[in-house]
């Protein structure tokens, strides 16, 4: 179906040749540094989600922002800093116009300088979903599945539109077989470079369940199931509300004996199950006198008002790691959180006051900025 031509880079990376097929959509996952994790991610994506992504591996370890941008763009014309960024934006816009996207997958971005990450993050936020940064704490299968599902869902790219497996070797990437439409050709023989991990021919019906993209029919079925569930819950509610319903029936049909049997509304205790039983017993005597009346649900509301659910405010917490040499007690925003080493301390993004007390009496106070890119702190 679609092909992405990749060009070998003598520096070890495989930058994107941006001449992707014009009439198709792509999701290009660019795995950047460190090498072991990106290889792991590439292999997982190829094994579990072959046919969904074009994966390119580029090492950005230790690169300053300009060098990193140049590496991504495969730029050899030595453009200035502004030129590089503008070029990347332009490339991303071109991809977006074609219904495609570029994702920088960063499995453990620890080896990439923070300034580089910030710069890439700035470009990503300015690109309106055309460029995405996907960060991983660990490059596990579950994380990769989540990434794949999120990308396919959020970017709105149908799996059948998107391209092709994994390229790790040198030379131009193979073209997917147009005859079968869904199978990948074997890659051309690679003379050098790391060992290839070849994706198997893709069978859509045999895709791993985690990446399965729901079709419209399935979506409809899911919605139908949801409505059925809601109906069931409503039926349960009606059954549970039967005492006030019967009370309302009695009010609507005046009958002296029944009216005498029922206490006035002011004296009536709030309805509950035992009341319901007693009312039913009374009505069983003269049940032939009653006729069914359609109930208006508005009448039931005052007897037991339903309080609206409290608003849920979701703040994405960032797991932060801290260490000190020598060890130290750590206070976060005036609250002691224990002694170092500390891992996965949940912190809200933003600035926090950290006070570190060393055993020799030294106290270090620092304001730290926590975000997805800076979550490892060392003291002093």
């Amino acid at each position: 179906m679609t092909s992405a031509t990749l060009r070998a880079d003598e520096r070890g990376g495989l930058p994107i040749d941006w001449a992707l097929d014009r009439d198709r959509s792509h999701v290009v996952v660019l795995c950047v540094a460190p090498v072991a994790n990106s290889a792991n991610l590439s292999a997982l994506l190829a094994r579990r989600h072959a046919g969904s992504f074009t994966v390119v591996r580029v090492s950005l370890a230790g690169l300053e922002p300009d060098a990193a941008l140049a590496r991504i763009l495969d730029d050899r014309e030595a453009l200035g800093a502004a030129g590089l960024e503008a070029r990347l934006r332009q490339r991303v816009e071109e991809l977006s116009a074609r219904g495609s996207a570029l994702v920088l997958a960063l499995p453990d971005a620890s080896s990439i300088p923070a300034v580089t990450l910030r710069r890439l993050g700035g470009v990503a936020s300015a690109s309106r979903q055309g460029l995405r940064l996907a960060l991983f704490a660990d490059c596990t299968a579950a994380a990769v599945d989540t990434l794949a599902v999120t990308l396919v869902r959020d970017l709105g790219v149908g799996v059948e539109k998107v391209v092709v497996g994994l390229r790790t070797g040198q030379g131009a990437g193979p073209r997917a077989s147009r005859a079968s439409g869904r199978a990948l050709e074997a890659p051309r023989a690679a003379s050098k470079g790391p060992p290839r991990i070849e994706p198997e021919p893709v069978r859509w019906w045999a895709r791993a369940p985690a990446i399965r993209v729901r079709s419209r029919g399935r979506r409809r079925r899911g919605r139908a199931a949801g409505w059925a569930g809601l109906g069931f819950i409503a039926a349960l509610q009606v059954a549970w509300w039967s005492p006030p319903a019967l009370e309302a029936v009695i009010k609507l049909i005046p009958d002296s004996r029944v009216a005498d049997a029922i206490p006035p509304p002011a004296a009536a205790p709030p309805p509950h199950v035992s009341d319901a039983a007693s009312v039913r017993v009374d009505l069983a005597v003269d049940s032939s006198r009653f006729q069914s009346v359609a109930m208006d649900p508005v009448e039931l509301a005052p007897t037991r008002p339903l309080s609206p659910p409290p608003p849920v405010v979701r703040v994405r917490m960032i797991p932060v790691n801290m260490n000190a040499d020598p060890w130290a007690h750590v206070e976060l925003d005036g609250r002691s959180i224990g002694t170092t080493p500390l891992a996965d301390v949940p912190m809200e993004p933003g600035s926090h006051r950290v006070v570190v007390r060393f055993p020799d009496g030294l106290v270090v106070a620092r304001t730290v900025e926590v975000d997805a890119y800076s979550r490892y702190f060392r003291f002093p």
Binding site: A137, T340, P341, A343, Y376
Partner: protein, 156 residues
Amino acid sequence: MLFLAFFGRGATGQMLASNSPAAEQKSESQSLMLSTLRTQGAEQRELLRNVDRALDDIQRMIADAYFRTALGIADTKRDRLNELGLRRGLALRRARLEVLAATAEVALDQHVQALESMRRALEANPSLILDEQRTPPKVCALLLEARKGHMRRSTP
């Protein structure tokens, strides 16, 4: 006279020895053995240097709070050290590796794994001592706990 006799005998003996074919063979084998030992020594030194470098890297990662990465590398290096077997100088390094792994595991709140790592460290170096001024109290407590278990196991 004595001087002459000593050196004369030595020189004569050497001369005599070099003349006989058996002695030649012996000296060749000796030199071969010496060169082999020298090569082995160099290899050993290089090996230990590499192990030390890897351990320093792991320690740096832990100091920078990259606990998971450090633990992943420590697992790899542990396998490599196990492949190398019982060589001279490796036991102490194995103990250091296990202490580093235990530190990362303590940080990640993996108490059982940390205790196991510390137990391995004690197996590699039964007289393991940690610097209490620099080592986190959690790790020191872990060593005490592991030592108790180690002693319980070793006492019949």
